[in-house]
Subunit: 332 residues, 2 copies
Amino acid sequence: MELSEDELVAAISRVLSGEQPGVVLGLGDDAAVLEPASGQQILTTDLLIEGVHFDPASISPHDLGAKAVTVNVSDVAAMGGSPRAAVASIVLRTDVEAAWVMELYAGMRDACTDYALSLVGGDTNRGPAVVVSVTVVGEVAPGRAVTRSGARPGDQIVVTGSLGAAAGGFAVSKASAARVGEALSAPWGRELVDAFERPVARVGEGQVLARRGATAMMDLSDGLAKDLHRLCAASGVGARLELEAIPVAPALRAATEWLEADPLELAVGFGEDYELLATFGEGDVDRAREGLDPFGVTLTAVGTIIEGSGIVAVDADGRDAPLEAKGWDHFS
Amino acid sequence: MELSEDELVAAISRVLSGEQPGVVLGLGDDAAVLEPASGQQILTTDLLIEGVHFDPASISPHDLGAKAVTVNVSDVAAMGGSPRAAVASIVLRTDVEAAWVMELYAGMRDACTDYALSLVGGDTNRGPAVVVSVTVVGEVAPGRAVTRSGARPGDQIVVTGSLGAAAGGFAVSKASAARVGEALSAPWGRELVDAFERPVARVGEGQVLARRGATAMMDLSDGLAKDLHRLCAASGVGARLELEAIPVAPALRAATEWLEADPLELAVGFGEDYELLATFGEGDVDRAREGLDPFGVTLTAVGTIIEGSGIVAVDADGRDAPLEAKGWDHFS
């Protein structure tokens, strides 16, 4: 790192230059200033840590920056809100090149452009490992935020898109060079890696689901098993999950032989898909599904909210068994 | 760390329980939801890294948590705004005890109580070093935020309180056990350590200075020399600094012999004092000073804004010399 802190801020300012609607004061002062928000404010923060969430040898700094923004935008989407602005605090090892940092910021900037929010602050520090900590503020019409706690017995459980591709991408990123080559020469290889490194936040979809009556909603960051347990715990209910109905990503199914793992297990247990998990009163699912047509995104019913607590998984033969809250745990 | 992520969140929720005015939805969902803000929104983020900003062996987790909030609140104060809510992203080594984490959150909670903001979100992750990343949102009346860029030639340069005590506290924290004992047995020892470990953000003071005509303002986190250079660069002006006028902390002066360093040099070059640096039109300083009387905080004129660029330091004998932008640089 040959740049001083002030030189780095100046370089980052150049990456982030350009018009930012609603921003009174962006990068470079003590704090950013935004025009007044309409509605309630949403606030969320999430970070990516080298060696825990990513390996700098396998993800590009551009993708890493974009993902750090996207995972936060996904949390705003899961409330049914709109993202508005982001700030980033970055820890860099001293051996990280300035060009790598510029690409990281370019990735954050591009993701902000994609989701129509403004990157208004960035703090950089040296430290023992790369950490990218992003906070996003957003807004939502008063009283319209969809929480995790509104699911009621009888509600249908739905998920957007398909699950498990990120798990496959993670497996590819951890494989030996020979096996990576094999994966990337298959039609599903790049798709899996992209799902893990370039997730998409369902912002418009979340707003539609909120308007069409979602009783509870959250994003799938830690796996359906674990996240559905959280939604049920917050709502004080249980769930019956139809394993057969879970929309396993086709690319993951295609990779079954290479993976030497059960795609369904990965789809339920891994996470990082950033699809939305929601619940709807029984009559509302079809209308919600139609609402997603313009996005080209599917909405799949995967089970039912029941009284009690915990999740019962039902397999293709109608046998049921308790489903544990397994999945991604940053302390396991 | 014997707790799972969900158990930790539950424990943190207990630490953070209690009424939080203006908070619609706090910890535990995808994102927090706040009541609509009045005025423009302020957004700032700052992090503390083990081995860079703090040594866990010398600062308590409670003080560390409080400081992580305070340094962000100080940035809001430097805009003339009011802090409203905070979120924290924490990286923990796996060997960190759950009790340590609870104390860290209790420190954040207590600082939030002191400055009347709400801690509404906390994300915890494991990693190679402890990192505490806090983001604070605040508000300010439209058009009333005080930036770094409004200083004009002829303006007086002022600072609140006194400078350099944090530098002394840092020196004590780095000293050998015998020398620490010597320092802490002197009347100034604890005062210096407290200044470094328990800084105070000048929130009310910043609002008074903003209302009483501050043309530019920022907080002194990286030292007067460096931060005044930044203010001058942002405003497109230079400065003439009267070294004799700088309010060196009495406790630092008392420690001169122990320190074996020039207190004035530490007061100008180290930072971490979180006092406010501001500029005022020539006739406005006295009124601003009177405004701080209720806080028991002094306001000292330390120089004048001039045309051009850079800082000229004038010593007791009237000799002047350029002052370099030395100070805390996270990349030096």
